[in-house]
């Protein structure tokens, strides 16, 4: 099936792509605004209880 179908309009899948893209942009915009409102933490306030014993569980 043709790659260029992604550029055609007026089809439901294309409309969904646009909806999701706009929703992601809106979500990120709101998230950025929330992040800006947070005070910059001091270095030692960033992690509540860092635990070295858990580090091995974090390998991904």
């Amino acid at each position: 099936m043709s790659k260029n179908t992604k550029n055609q309009s007026a089809n439901p899948v294309q409309e969904l792509r646009e909806i999701y893209k706009k929703r992601r942009e809106d979500t990120l915009k709101k998230a950025r605004e929330k992040a800006k409102k947070l005070p910059q933490p001091k270095k030692d306030e960033r992690v509540a209880k860092p635990s070295r014993s858990n580090r091995q569980d974090l390998e991904m």
Binding site: M1, P12, L16, T27, P41, R46, V47, A48, M60
Partner: protein
């Protein structure tokens, strides 16, 4: 039972009188239609351009469950990247390191049209990493979920229903649906699970298709198509993408 490929779908529905006027859409085709990085996204686009104005897309609760679960996992994977972009200057080095690594791997998968869902173990590890990390008065996992995941996940099913013409077949003890010729039965579901070794949710989808008056199944899932073909119900037909069609044709010849 007949098998067709998507490129022949328009010809098929123009010469076939389908009653009820609809097709059964499984999770794979609905997810493909709603996730641009899915391997079959463009195939799904062509299918729904042909079918949307002519036929309803019938599903059941299992399809809805699997659809939402798939979107939860891809959105979590995407959201971790977005979260990193926005909060990296506020996170400890160890957290940033893991998020950066995830972002790099995730981008490679998306660029290559490979599955990018977050795996269960990955999620557990990120919860362990982000729950103890504070952003103001909230922990980082809470921020990720409520500010990034939830706003995108919440409307995803309703959007799909509206745009793709999805109609959910609901079955209750007391209902007699005009779309069903037999009541779905758990014993039949277990039989299907046992015969083909497929998961219970998929077996319930196969069973619902068998029990329904709907004769056309659209799927991009090889195992789903295989199972339905082997059920060999009279008057039923399955349409699949070209690559799956070729594989099934080779198996059946």
């Amino acid at each position: 039972m007949s098998l067709g490929e998507f490129s022949e779908l328009e010809k098929f529905i123009n010469k076939t009188s389908l009653e009820p006027k609809g097709f059964f859409a499984d999770t794979s085709i609905l997810f493909a239609a709603t996730y641009p990085s899915d391997l079959y996204n463009e195939d799904a686009e062509d299918v729904f351009k042909i079918l949307k104005s002519k036929l309803s897309a019938y599903t059941n609760v299992n399809v809805k469950y699997e659809f939402l679960e798939s979107h939860r996992r891809v959105l979590l994977a995407d959201s971790l990247c977005d979260f990193y972009d926005i909060y990296s200057d506020r996170l400890p080095a160890m957290v940033n390191e893991k998020l950066k690594s995830h972002k790099t791997t995730h981008k490679k998968k998306v660029d290559a049209d490979r599955p990018s869902k977050l795996e269960v173990e990955q999620q557990k590890n990120f919860i362990k990493l982000l729950r103890p990390t504070l952003l103001g008065e909230r922990d980082a996992w809470d921020v990720l979920c409520k500010d990034f995941l939830l706003p995108q996940l919440e409307p995803v099913w309703d959007d799909a229903c509206k745009k793709l013409g999805i109609v959910e077949i609901k079955v209750r003890e007391t209902d007699e649906s005009p779309l069903l010729k037999a009541k779905p039965d758990w014993a039949d579901v277990v039989q299907i699970m046992g015969r083909y070794g497929i998961a219970s949710a998929d077996a319930m989808i196969v069973n619902m298709f068998n029990c329904s008056k709907i004769n056309l199944l659209i799927t991009a899932d090889l195992e789903m198509a295989r199972s339905v073909i082997r059920e060999n119900c009279a008057d039923k037909c399955v349409f699949v993408p070209e690559s799956i069609f070729e594989q099934l044709q080779a198996e059946n010849n």
